[in-house]
Point group: C2
Chain length 566, copies 2
């Protein structure tokens, strides 16, 4: 749920109701009924109120059986193209057609809810509910992640303060604190001031919780023991003689795992169509892999016949990481993929200004379609047949829609329109049928073999997915590379952090750029999560609030009814 | 639950089991059974798993009917005298005697669980369960408080960053961020570094979540509307022309209240004796009032015939604040009071060194008893008849126990021994009977009328409770006093922050000091909570971790079973 649908709801006039009003007007089924429908036994259900639950992963050791469909998107406009909304509506459509379909999605992050977004659980008549609770704390997974992250930070600083037996270089501690709040003032801080009883001064910072390595670890762990192993493997910094120090060296993994013992269980809720939905985990889509947890996906796949899951941003970011990191670690076969596009995103990729996207412009479609074609082509490289979902907006014109349909027919791309914001599952039955017609089995692959070394992995992604001619490493990246090789970290999969607005590392290069150079600035070992982050640009890991924060509109009445989420 | 019982369990050898082992060996009743036993209707129950629930305060608008008993203590040893443990065991004893008794207690803070304590939910066979979950996140109330606190901090800094329309003086922002972690490095920090896009630099700090004014507000709010009103009244700092700025000026109260919409509902769990227990809220006992929430107390009083609740530290701190702040705001009649003492605390108040407290010393009892006498006398000033609970330790000798019993008979003080750590409710039946014999109705009072001004309130407490001859204000306190008067804050009740080790403001003056001078260093308006904090010494609002943190012993196995909490 990385992308907002606010623009969609603002630009469409299907209804004057806000997302939260639509959600609150809906009569939810008790979560015990949803669990029964899903086939989750009562003893595995951990209720959180009457409409949310966790499913105890220690209590249903079955094997995944469902066909798995990945929902991804084109290079987006700044407002996003509604991937989560389409995913939810499409799954409801599959349910309407009689399939045992389920949703697996990321959890919203609280910080952005208070910033611009005001909520992130789908939109219109394609939402997961109870949306207020999903957006506000949910079952506490983000807070547990924050706790585990900051307990480790406290243990590190305490170790240094209490004599520093491990010889940790305070200047080379890379572990940061985190909070699930949009607070730019926490990006760069100095801690440990106040004299010798109040710690050792350090220049550091806070990330938003979604950017914590703990969130990435929670996303990839296969069970509690695997979680603990990964937590122990976290590299927190270097010693004075430049050796990596791990969370395990500090004896921190047991307490962190205990703090995450409930967070590891996937959360079960429902869509407005009454479809079971697993909403669990929320790692960043640039410095992490950007998908819901592996455990949620696998749990949904145990109970459903078809599971729809999402990866952040487009085929170049979320989808590539989904196949090369999550599917690799989770041994997942991907049966199909949906590429969510909009008429306005195609025009945007032709370089049309945001304020002109509402005006009919068929020429711009002709120029911008190369972006969608590239994403479609990229998905095929992973052995999966892509289906394009054209997410409808009121401003789309008949001529524009016809042009896109003609393009698809001409190029042999499976396509269907989706109108789920206004119509829910009913707005995606054609898309559902098209998807079902294009599912495969056992054909999905990864792009590279990490055993060949991280330079080879990056080179393969750059050539095959980004269509770059060259990869250049900064001096710092070369130093990082040496450190990775010295410590045996260079055969981990790579997680490229790159702008979502371009296939290249330059957000201005829209459309389908070729022959560019990928610039690697830094290589950061995430030895707990099990990948190396390759930074190719500035990454903002702590957002700020806008001049008029969404928080100012959020309210709650005397019965506990929340307003101002949209 | 401010005091640990670890020393008790370490010094006693009733059983080799740790608290968490005792708790885990216990067969818990489903929370729905506990709720039914308590009389809570199913529609008001919000389950969190099978053994914890919240009780929706909007769904049972009944009136409190139970007799309310306050459990307080003597001036403690550094290890604490086991107030919570006695309270839990005594309530179980009342249940055994056929009474409809319930517990109302504070929630443990997570930071100290990772530090020295390793857990805080009673001890031995007098615990509330499930103790692992109560100690680790529980139902998320502390995290919600952290979120609300830090959302306000982000809104303040964002307001200044985005043009500062209100003219907030960045140097005079008193609102701090918080985290529920013991992290001394966060006491004094500089935020907002990194240049003009990353905020305005500020010298500030983090408190532990229990010290946040939001926690105090949650503790005193009577419903969601009252919560919102109090949140809006928070003073966050001053403008350039020294006018108070409130959270309401920033439009922050709606979002904060929405973040607290679940946290406001009291949590229901059970004791090892199967007695319903409301565990809710956890404000500091020095810079705040140190009791569980008013809503939890009132909710328990609706369902029970007798409710036992605790206030942090002794009669001079927790009990005084309980009567003068919580009972005043909540219109509570207090029917009885239990003063928890130990043989070793009496000896400690005679100046006996900690390492010698295990040795028999009747002379020391004669010298130290003045402390207990003073606490007993203080309780009487609030119109309530105190009962002394002598919490038993293995090191108590027959001669010592006899001396204390003789003292009680000689002075007409009601007393009974409690052996609840080893025996649960069975160890406190005599205490229960003694308590029942000493309950009154409609006699409890407050000590002062805040309308007479804060100097009069402080003077009354100092004279009547601390037995000081004089109150002196520092230059800073006099400036604060002017500010309070200028803004009409000087008729709020006072919350004195003072050492718990002495009736005076000097922790070295044990026993029952008289004729001393109370030094007021600062007066801090907590206009949201509705009191003024009078600082009389250094207050540590962010603890640190010890050299060997409890976190290093905490672990979780593959089934989610936690170890290392005690």
């Amino acid at each position: 749920m990385s992308d907002t649908t606010a623009t969609q709801s603002a630009s469409q006039n299907h209804t004057p109701k806000s997302d939260v009003e639509i959600a609150q007007a809906h009569q939810l089924a008790p979560i015990s009924d949803i669990a029964a429908k899903a086939g989750v036994s009562a003893d595995a259900l951990i209720p959180y109120g009457t409409h949310m639950a966790k499913v105890d992963v220690t209590k249903h050791p079955g094997q995944p059986k469902a066909k798995l469909v990945l929902v991804t998107g084109v290079s987006p406009t700044p407002a996003g193209e509604g991937k989560s909304t389409v995913l939810i509506g499409l799954t409801d459509a599959l349910s309407l057609l009689g399939h045992n379909a389920m949703v697996a999605l990321r959890e919203p992050s609280l910080g952005p809810v208070m910033g611009i977004k005001g909520g992130a659980a789908g939109g219109g008549y394609a939402q997961v509910v109870p949306m207020e609770d999903i957006n506000l704390h949910f079952t506490g997974d983000f807070h547990a992640t924050t706790s585990a992250n900051n307990t480790l930070a406290a243990l590190i600083d305490n170790h240094i303060h209490q004599g520093n037996e491990l010889g940790i270089d305070p200047r080379r501690v890379t572990w940061q604190r985190c909070l699930d709040v949009n607070d730019r003032s926490l990006r760069n801080v100095v801690t440990g001031l106040g004299g010798p009883t109040s710690g050792v001064p350090a220049q550091t910072g806070f990330t938003i919780t979604a950017a914590s390595e703990i969130m990435a670890i929670l996303g990839l762990a296969t069970d509690l023991q695997d979680l603990k192993r990964r937590l122990a493997n976290i590299t927190i910094g270097l010693t004075y003689d430049q050796k990596p120090v791990t969370a395990g060296d500090l004896g921190a993994e047991g307490a962190m795992a205990a703090l995450l013992k409930q967070a590891i269980h996937p959360n079960l809720v429902q869509t407005l169509g009454g479809t079971p939905a697993f909403i669990h985990g929320g790692p960043f889509a640039n410095i992490a892999h950007g998908c819901n947890t592996l455990l949620a996906t696998r749990t949904a796949m145990q109970y459903a016949d078809i599971v729809l899951t999402e990866a952040g941003f487009g085929s170049d970011l979320g989808a590539e990481k989904f196949f090369d990191i999550k599917a690799r670690y989770g041994d997942l076969d991907v049966a199909g993929a949906v590429v969510v596009a909009t008429v306005r995103s195609i025009k945007y990729n032709a370089g049309i200004a945001r304020e002109e996207l509402k005006q009919e412009n068929v020429d711009a479609l002709e120029q911008g379609i190369a972006n969608l074609e590239r994403h479609v082509d990229n998905i095929r490289k992973f052995g999966v047949t892509p289906v394009v979902a054209l997410n409808r907006f009121d401003t789309d014109t008949p001529a524009e829609l016809k042009w896109v349909r003609d393009w698809a027919e001409r190029t042999g791309v499976a396509i269907a329109e989706a109108d789920v914001w206004a119509k829910g599952g009913e707005g995606a039955t054609e898309l559902a049928t098209t998807l079902l017609d294009n599912l495969t089995e056992g054909t999905s692959t990864q792009l590279y073999d990490p055993a060949n070394g991280i330079e080879a992995s990056i080179e393969t992604i750059a050539r095959e997915i980004y269509r770059a001619d060259d990869v250049q490493y900064s001096a710092a990246a070369l130093r990082d590379l040496k450190m990775l090789k010295d410590n045996g970290f260079d055969t981990l999969p790579v997680c490229v952090s790159k702008t979502q607005y371009s296939f290249s590392d330059d957000p201005q290069q829209l459309g389908a750029p070729e022959g560019h150079t990928l610039h690697v600035r830094n290589l950061i070992p995430r030895t707990g999560a099990g990948f190396v982050v390759a930074l190719t640009g500035d990454v903002m890991t702590m957002p700020g609030l806008p001049k008029k924060p969404a928080a100012n509109n959020i309210d709650v009445d005397s019965e506990g009814r929340v307003s101002g989420l949209f």
